[in-house]
Symmetry: C2
Subunit: 484 residues, 2 copies
């Protein structure tokens, strides 16, 4: 293990995080929120101290940086980022218990949006802003950000590739251009432009500037933290529809936007993952509208609520305009299944990802075809291109890991004796980075009642879900830590 390089990298990540806290500090100072200001100053202080210490300790790099180091580095970075990111919540006294502050921060960075707070309107503005901002930076990834802005000293191809691959969602990273640094920059540019567009559309609907920014940050990261207790329910239909559209857009693979800029419309039109995503969303909305007949006063209202909740769940955002826990069970079941599926790879959304569904389905189809035509050689193709067997094998291993971690967490948190549906949907909501579940963790409730032990389990689930399991799984593997 190249500890020096890892340490130096993590030091820089923490410096970036400290810098990210500065705007929140300024907001706090502007609004005269003394406790929050104290929280941010302490948070920034500790973070900078630790970062400088790490950078000093790890001067003079060892050689060699492999996939293993990339995974471990990403896993550890996210854990440290979360620990330090929770300090403002804790030191400001607005979330008095550290485990709750940590849960909230992890939920933020992983773009889950599950909260332990029974209500958020009494929080100070700077804290609310920081809460929403964790979504934004967590959505695209703080390592990707660092790559985009870093000097090229450490940015050798292998190094950056391993990191980008470990942090980006999806089975194979969408390498837009040859150079990783440029890819990271393009991704962040697209991300910033789309977020700004969202802010503009929200402002046009009469939302206050502060709420517009926070809502857009939460939408962009497909996170789900809102600034009102009833999430998006009390906003106008226009504002709700803006959220629906932008949640949907942030669930699309960013490669598609890059292709649109390059005017490769045909490639986008023919993209199999995008088609599955589109079809699934439209189909689910239609089924739920049919199932909700008579539930709302007009068809328009039904479509609006159905579309909002479907998009919110499939992109794993977790905003709500209505309490879907009260919907009939068919609609609830569709939403539960959409939670598993998730959005497209290379988006800010979580879940199992549409592309993996495609890969697993096509591999299954191939297995059936093999029985029918044993002589024929079968190749799995996506968008006409053959998929490497290694990626298929990896996707299968991912499904296996997903299933085991899911069941294991489900058992562990059931010790708290909440209902089966509550526990099941809690794991679902955290592991897939959605936010609200059903029953005691439904859209109008929160995760505060779980024990410290269960919260730790769910924190690990959120991290494993956001980082796509392996960077976290590998931290538990003894041979990852062995010196050779």
């Amino acid at each position: 293990m190249n500890y020096k390089m890892m340490g130096r990298f993590m030091g820089r990540i923490l410096l970036v995080e400290a810098a990210f806290m500065l705007p929140a500090l300024l907001i706090g100072a502007y609004c005269k929120e003394d406790d929050a200001v104290k929280g941010f100053i302490l948070g920034i202080g500790v973070t900078v101290l630790l970062a400088v210490g790490l950078l000093q300790l790890c001067r003079g790099a060892g050689k060699g940086f492999h996939a293993k180091e990339g995974l471990v580095c990403v896993g550890l970075s996210w854990i440290f980022m979360s620990l330090l990111g929770s300090l403002p919540f804790y030191f400001s006294g607005e979330i008095p218990r550290f485990i709750d502050a940590l849960f909230e921060t992890v939920s933020g960075f992983t773009t889950t949006g599950a909260s332990i707070l029974p209500e958020v309107e009494s929080l100070s503005k700077s804290i609310l802003y920081w809460r929403s901002f964790t979504h934004w930076v967590g959505g695209m990834g703080v390592l990707v950000f660092l790559l985009a802005v870093a000097s090229t000293a450490d940015s050798k191809q292998g190094f950056t590739m391993h990191l980008l691959r470990a942090e980006s969602p999806g089975p194979n990273v969408g390498k837009l251009v040859l150079k990783m640094k440029t890819t990271a920059r393009i991704l962040y540019m697209l991300y910033i432009v789309l977020t700004l567009l969202d802010v503009v559309f929200l402002l046009l609907g009469g939302m206050s500037p502060f709420e517009s920014v926070c809502t857009a940050l939460g939408t962009a990261g497909t996170g789900g933290f809102g600034v009102r207790n009833d999430s998006i329910a009390s906003y106008s239909p226009y504002l709700q529809n803006v959220c629906t559209v932008f949640m949907f857009l942030f669930g699309v693979n960013f490669t598609c936007y890059y292709l649109l800029i390059l005017k490769k419309f045909y490639n986008v039109f023919k993209d199999e993952e995008l088609r599955l995503y589109f079809g699934m969303v439209l189909g689910s909305i239609a089924l739920i509208v049919w199932n909700l007949k008579g539930y709302y006063s007009t068809l328009g209202e039904t479509v609006r609520h159905a579309a909002f909740q479907v998009v919110s769940v499939v992109t794993t955002t977790g905003f709500a305009t209505t309490d879907f826990d009260l919907w009939p069970n068919f609609s609830k079941t569709i939403l539960l299944c959409l939670m598993v599926v998730g959005a497209c790879a290379g988006s800010t959304g979580g879940g199992f990802k549409c592309i993996r569904i495609l890969l697993v389905m096509k591999n299954l189809r191939r297995n059936v075809q093999k029985v029918l035509h044993p002589q024929k050689v079968q190749v799995v193709r996506i968008n006409g291109q053959p998929v490497a067997e290694k990626i298929l094998d990896n996707t299968n291993a991912y499904l296996a890991a997903y299933t085991f971690i899911f069941l294991f967490s489900f058992i562990l948190i059931s010790i708290d004796n909440f209902s089966v549906t509550t526990n099941f949907s809690a794991v679902m909501a955290c592991f897939n980075n959605i936010g609200p579940g059903l029953e005691a963790v439904g859209p109008t409730c929160n995760f505060g009642a779980y024990s410290i032990f269960s919260k730790i389990v769910l924190i690990v689930d959120m991290l494993a879900g956001r980082l796509e399991i392996f960077p976290i799984l590998i931290l538990f593997s003894r041979s990852a830590w062995k010196h050779r």
Copy 2:
């Protein structure tokens, strides 16, 4: 497709089934149960007619019989067997609706044990016997039986192998000896001996001969149909413990018993699947006993109930001595997870099977190791033997198929608007061939309230679960039916 050979084979299967109905007919005649006798006579008549028709129609065999034909043949046989096996229930008037009779029969043959009957004690004895007997023959498989007794005219190696492989549970068939016919005979001999032993132990505990036979048939097939409304609850602790032990024994891979006869004790002792099965059962019992502290009056009673329910669920039998739906949620969650795991391959139990858990886990471990040591060639081994990549790939495809069918069924039956837990556990209980689920389909309830549509979905699930998905999946594949 070799339709002639398939038709002739199915004709013979139906003749065997008609023969199996004879003892039930005799019991009915002896007990003077007129309606039941009428039902069996009509049932046997229709079955024999159809069988003779098929045999006449398909004289003179075409050549060639491949894996594809084996799968289709097994899938169709089970569907026809179920349709005809339900006739006595229907014609006797004891289950007035045909869909319910079919559900009960499929539940019997697939050794599920899910019932649509609110109570069973008013059924006539011959019907109760037939209900339990479907478990017994379904457990080991009626095709395996036919292979064991058939003349060797059709029994070319390829033909029998494809059939045995398609009907036997587990990723690769345990070919005990070189000749399939002998393997089938050994399996049925072991099965009969163990069943008789069970009957003897039940008789020693003072159970009536009729109830002993029916209970033993239900235990041997790991089915779960009982002859009393409260399943096994009203029997003495001794009788309950006998059931626990024998359910456990029928969940073991029968190859292990054959190895014991050959005195290869060391191989049995070292068998990884057996060790996982043992460990899982003991661990689950311990955890549930801990969780149930204070729930029953004595520790002995707690252990008895915990052991019974754990073994009943993991072997997918579905007998009950207590209503585990009232247990705390941790215990319920453990039982839910055990439902997925299931028993050993090559046993009469259902579920995902311990060996597949091992294979999927080891493949996952290999994928993690590949990241850590990219240069090293890694081979998955079971009991020291390398596992073919083809089997690993197939197991992964099985997990994928399992997950999709599960979610799809879950959505379909949720149209009936039962609770999420009810629907989830109903699919779990049917697809894994267990029997009772939770809440509205819990141990003290039944499946009668579901709509016809949901019952058909659950029937398909039961068949897919028993035949390990592919023989049923392939029936839906267009290219299986294409003439070339």
